[in-house]
């Protein structure tokens, strides 16, 4: 094996040598096809923005995105059918991307979530038409000052921000890479690729633009802060292992280091670098999943962002980030399990308890769902902490179940409106069950799924993660989890009581009849919630088969 070249210490002569030996990277087009299709569609979407006439953009973008995501999903199914998830796995892209069971399962879930979110993004029947044109939940012109003359002009001219479609696709592309990343640099790049579009999307609300922009800035600042920590952790780990490759680092952690790099002699194999680097890396990922104490951005951003974006973010980011966290902990750092386990125990317990407790006093539906997502991050961490194949499969299942419930819940939130746009204050939801029993009934179903009531997907997921954790001896965690679930059930059911047993307000909100797109999103989410609760066996088996990480 040739020595690793370190740019700061290498002699010029060595550099030329290295350049001579440089070969064109080998790309496994087929194995990487889902990601490539999505990113390709995103790139075409940018071209559409640049060259297509304003009038036709919406439809073109919508069709392009649907086709792109559907094709990528077909590619995932094809890969899984050809045995990638079960019998063989591949480390593609020069060892930087793992195409294995968890990757394909999560990519499949992410693509479905992306497709469903796309329909919410494209919904144009909720907002009252402006100047005779149907508009969506996104601002007419993002660059205009809120309430200023430029904005009025843009609205008058009927501009719409069709950039949301390529942005969604770019974010989705990054998310597809994130759980597959098998190299710390790729991990970081994927993180940025999906984060940056999300920051932008958060700022694009049509109503309450200042709140939306504030949310975006906060998200961006804190996200950049977290990225810096993550990057610092990557640097420290590189110093420790002399490589960025997951398998290579795992080897060093396990005590069989590769050849010592002269340039890193002072740090290589020094456990302090491993511990600090590992902790910082975990922190970066915990920020993305919104676990305590890195959760502070969640409520503000969830509340401020346009609701379709919140739904997408809440569902997809969690899937991608937990995928990456699983791979990091199970592939890179199993050797330091005894070091990260207690820390994550603390984080899981804090998330479950803080999420459930703070949610009790929330008065805004979106903030309530934000705190609920924090609590759920804790529940999912419980499954992660099982450190077993059952743990992986239960987390995979939980993520799939949770993402659909979340999307459904946020889709319902977009429908309850009054003159000022979405009526997210809980007091306005009083008596909703009497006015629109069907909608309130479906929302109750989602709330019951969040609470983990049997015959909903939430119960199956919780049962699976708690069972996996209990079997690997984490009884304490499970007890806290069950108690936190009980506290959480209180505020979920309180909303149901509010909807069905309180008298409606005089000037309460009304439920808007959406286009078939949102209707189908809500319906699909409800069906998935019920099917995964009543007959989950097929999907549990799928998650079980997909639960093995490729190592090398």
């Amino acid at each position: 094996m040739s020595p690793v070249i370190h740019p700061y210490t290498a002699a010029p002569a060595l550099l030329t040598q290295a350049q001579e030996r440089l070969e064109a990277p080998q790309i496994e087009w087929v194995a990487l096809s889902p990601t490539l299709i999505v990113l390709g569609a995103a790139a075409i979407g940018i071209l559409v923005e640049a060259f297509a006439p304003q009038r036709g953009r919406y439809l073109t973008q919508l069709l392009l995105s649907v086709l792109g995501i559907a094709a990528a999903f077909a590619a995932v199914v094809g890969l899984a059918a050809s045995g990638y998830a079960t019998t063989r796995a591949e480390i593609a892209g020069m060892g930087s991307i793992a195409v294995d069971g968890p990757t394909l399962f999560l990519q499949g879930v992410l693509l479905l979530v992306g497709l469903v979110s796309l329909f919410l993004f494209a919904e144009r029947r909720l907002e009252p038409a402006e100047h005779g044109r149907a508009v969506d939940s996104f601002t007419a012109q993002a660059a205009a000052v809120p309430g200023g003359p430029a904005e009025r002009e843009a609205v008058k001219a009927g501009r719409t921000t069709t950039e949301i479609f390529p942005l969604l696709l770019f974010a989705l592309g990054g998310m597809l890479i994130f759980p597959a990343a098998n190299d710390l640099l790729v991990l970081f790049i994927a993180l940025e690729v999906f984060s940056l579009p999300l920051y932008l999307l958060c700022a694009l609300a049509r109503r309450r633009r200042l709140l939306s922009q504030e949310a975006a800035v906060k998200y961006f600042l804190l996200g950049a802060f977290a990225s810096a920590f993550l990057l610092f952790g990557i640097a420290l780990l590189y110093g420790y292992a002399g490589t960025l490759d997951y398998a290579g680092i795992a080897d060093v952690v396990a005590g069989s280091p590769a050849a010592l790099d002269a340039g890193l002699a002072s740090t290589m194999g020094n456990d302090v670098y491993l511990l600090i680097g590992g902790a910082l890396l975990m922190m970066g990922l915990l920020f993305k999943v919104g676990a305590v104490p890195f959760h502070m951005w969640t409520p503000d951003v969830y509340q401020g962002a346009p609701t379709p974006v919140t739904g997408f973010m809440a569902a997809a980011t969690k899937v991608a980030a937990f995928g990456a966290l699983l791979r990091l902990l199970y592939v890179v750092l199993p050797g330091m399990r005894w070091d990260w386990e207690p820390v994550l125990w603390g984080v899981a317990i804090a998330s479950m308890v803080a999420g459930a407790v703070i949610a009790i006093t929330q008065t805004d539906v979106k903030r309530l769902l934000a705190y609920s997502s924090i609590a759920h991050a804790g529940f999912i961490l419980t499954g992660v902490l099982a450190v077993s194949e059952d743990g992986v499969s239960s987390v995979l299942f939980y993520l799939a179940a949770y993402s659909f419930v979340t999307l459904g819940a946020f889709a319902v939130v977009t429908l309850v409106r009054d003159a000022g746009g979405e009526a997210t204050h809980l007091s306005k939801w009083a008596g909703l069950g009497r006015r629109s029993p069907l909608l309130a009934g479906v929302f109750s179903l989602f709330l019951l799924a969040f609470a983990g009531i049997p015959l909903t997907s939430g119960f199956t997921g919780k049962f699976a993660v708690f069972r996996a954790a209990a079997e690997s001896g984490a009884i304490g965690l499970v007890i806290v989890g069950v108690l936190a679930s009980a506290v959480a059930a209180f505020f979920y059911i309180r909303v149901i009581v509010l909807m069905f047993f309180s008298d409606p307000q005089e000037s309460g909100p009304s439920v808007v009849i959406p286009s078939p797109m949102t209707t189908s999103v809500v319906g699909l989410a409800a069906v998935v919630t019920l099917v995964l609760g009543i007959a989950p066996q097929y999907f549990l088996d799928l998650a079980q088969q997909a639960a093995v990480f490729a190592f090398r």
């Binding site: 906060k218 456990d271 511990l275 975990m282 920020f287 305590v292 059952d390 007959a535 989950p536 088996d541």
Partner: protein, 633 residues
């Protein structure tokens, strides 16, 4: 063929979903959709029955495994069906009587504007009941068990604008809850003992002595508690009489023919468990014997035709329960009586419904009289059902009841004589109260009175949709017993599943038949002397204390009130006191603590990005510190 089993359940399930979610646009056809789907289910049942008959007696168990519900770790809850002779018998009874009663309801509920919903509930009931008898494990059975409970609750309270109906529904619900807890406990104990829910594993394990007798007795008693709740047996019998507030087709289908027999099914299905727990078995017999007499006495005193029939149902199920408690001597005959009873009792209830339909919904028999000339079809079909239930020779009740009496003697020794005596006495009481109903309703002079709105009754024969089911059921009541006994057909059919044993009877079959017929004739004669020869007062005479007690359901509600409600009230009052003084402090403290904590934690969320960043920084520092610390220690 296995894959057809799921198809039994699918039509009514689909019907329930379509009718309940379909909305008003289905109002005009909903009842026919429901009836057609019930009939489809019956057709599938017939196909499966033909298939089973074509197989060897030992090879008549079909199973269909649909999927496992949450198969994680060692927990295995299968959604799987098991069709053997026992469940096939039930399936045929449920779907045939069910279809007939759907048809009957088309006419009976014609003027009800919520008819579509009614049929939705009926279909829901069919689906749940089929699930109950087809389940291949106790957990799935429990799902069906709760499902029929739900359907029963919804249907008893169907006319929810009447406070009495709403209260009756609630009463049925609460009393059934007590029984359901028994089933839940039994299943939990079973799972902890055997590690599985499946019939195919629990029952053999029980038969091979896989658990101590104490455990088996506990399971058995809990199953009995469940059966008492569902089948209205003493001490959980009090809900059945009030349940007659529901529409009459419901009383016929759910509270006479099918659901209330689920308890008998449970006991027979769990036969191996009771064989391993003699004490529990004795308890079953005692419950059956007591209820048999209890229900009959109540039936003798009621003036409300449906409540009198309800008392009779209770008593007849007591017969079945007693037979089921006898073990293999009685299993087959319990089920046989269950089937014949399903036919004649459903027919009797439909007849009662037909009478009420013609009499402005009057239920007091003292205001009937002389109806045989006005409602000839109802009179004949009701009369055939009457002859069947009192055990008139060669009608269906004669065969099944005599077999139970014979099996009761077969218990042997003093117990045999006591049980035989009780069952014979029951036969006499049955003849008495049924004759009373018959005479009060169809014979004598008219005692009709205008209803509350002042409308004079104009009794008339019911429409075709109602009479056809009554005729079919009457034919069944007449011939079923005879057909079952032809070449021991029923015994040979069922015994491979339930087992069969010859009892140790001190008397012969013939003696039993003669004794039963004699007792029956005595009962009829007394009733005729009391009601046929003398004019019937249109208000009940005060009567002796027994009659008065029987009219009040032998003081069951007073007993429940004294035994449970009053102490319960005192207990609650005491608890409230403790609660105010002690628990409230803790609870409110906790709530306040959580609320306060929530409020305080909330304040950290101040909206400033800088403080969020600080908290992240602190979190990161903490993370690193703990990681390093864990390595250090």
């Amino acid at each position: 063929m296995e894959s057809l089993i799921g198809l039994l359940l699918a039509p009514p399930l689909l019907g329930a979903a379509v009718l309940l979610l379909g909305g008003r646009r289905l109002d005009r056809v909903g009842h026919w959709i429901g009836t057609a789907l019930a009939a489809t289910s019956f057709a599938v049942a017939v196909v499966l029955f033909a298939d089973l008959l074509g197989r060897d007696a030992g090879d008549r168990t079909l199973t269909q495994h649909l999927y496992s519900w949450i198969p994680v770790g060692g927990f295995q809850a299968d959604i799987a069906f098991r069709l053997d002779q026992l469940s096939m018998t039930f399936v045929l009874l449920i779907t045939s009587v069910g279809t007939l009663i759907h048809l009957y309801s088309v006419g009976y509920m014609e003027h009800d504007e919520r008819r579509r919903r009614f049929f939705g509930y009926l279909n829901l009931f069919l689906a749940a009941m089929l699930l109950l008898v087809l389940a291949d494990n106790y957990l799935l059975l429990y799902v069906g068990w709760e499902g029929v409970g739900l359907a029963s609750f919804l249907l008893i309270g169907f006319w929810q604008h009447k406070p009495s109906a709403a209260t009756a529904a609630k009463k049925a619900f609460v009393v059934n809850r007590v029984g359901d807890i028994g089933l839940a406990i039994a299943i939990l104990v079973m799972f902890t003992t055997f590690g599985t829910f499946a019939f195919g594993e629990v029952l053999p394990a029980a038969a091979e002595g896989g658990a101590t007798e104490t455990t088996m007795t506990l399971i058995g008693l809990m199953l009995l508690l469940a059966a008492c709740g569902k089948s209205a047996q003493v001490p959980l019998q009090s809900w059945l009489g009030d349940a007659m507030e529901g529409p009459t087709p419901v009383s016929a289908l759910i509270h006479a023919a099918t659901m209330v027999t689920a308890g008998v099914y449970l006991i027979v299905r769990s036969g191996a468990i009771f064989e391993a727990a003699p004490d529990a078995q004795t308890a079953v017999i005692v419950v059956g014997a007591v209820t048999l007499i209890f229900g009959a006495i109540v039936g003798c005193a009621k003036d409300d035709i449906k409540k009198a029939l309800a008392g009779s149902t209770m008593s007849q199920i007591g017969y079945m329960m007693l037979a089921a408690g006898l073990g293999p001597i009685g299993f087959v005959f319990a089920i046989m009586h269950l089937v014949t009873h399903g036919f004649f009792k459903a027919g009797l209830f439909l007849g009662a419904g037909s009478v009420m339909h013609g009499m402005n919904d009057e239920v007091d028999m003292r205001r009937y009289g002389g109806l045989r000339r006005y409602m000839p079809v109802t009179f004949v079909t009701f009369g055939l059902g009457y002859l069947a239930i009192i055990g008139f020779p060669y009608l269906s009740g004669f065969f099944s009841k005599d077999e139970i009496i014979y099996a009761a003697f077969g218990r042997g020794g003093a117990q045999g004589w006591i049980l035989g005596g009780v069952t014979l006495l029951g036969a006499g009481l049955t003849a008495y109260y049924m004759t009373r109903i018959m005479i009060l309703t169809f014979f004598g002079e008219k005692r009709w009175q205008p209803d509350a709105a002042g409308n004079e009754p104009h009794p008339h024969e019911s429409p075709r949709t109602m009479t056809i089911p009554m005729i079919v059921l009457a034919v069944g009541s007449v011939f079923a017993g005879f057909l079952f006994n032809l070449n021991h057909a029923f015994v040979d059919w069922l015994s491979p599943v339930t087992g069969i044993a010859e009892g140790d009877s001190p008397v012969s079959h013939l003696t039993v038949s003669i004794a039963a017929t004699t007792v029956m004739l005595i009962g009829v004669a007394i009733a005729w002397l009391q009601y046929g020869r003398r004019p019937v007062p249109d208000h009940a005479p005060t009567g002796r204390w027994v009659t008065r007690a029987a009219r009040r359901d032998l003081l069951q509600d007073d007993f429940n009130h004294a035994a449970f409600v009053l102490p319960g009230n005192y207990l609650t009052r005491g608890l409230v006191y403790v609660d105010h003084k002690l628990v409230d402090g803790v609870v409110n403290g906790t709530a306040a603590a959580f609320g306060g904590l929530s409020g305080r934690l909330r304040r950290v969320q101040n909206g400033y990005a800088r403080s969020y960043a600080v908290s992240m920084f602190g979190g990161a520092a903490l993370l690193i510190a703990v990681t390093l610390l864990m390595r250090a220690v």
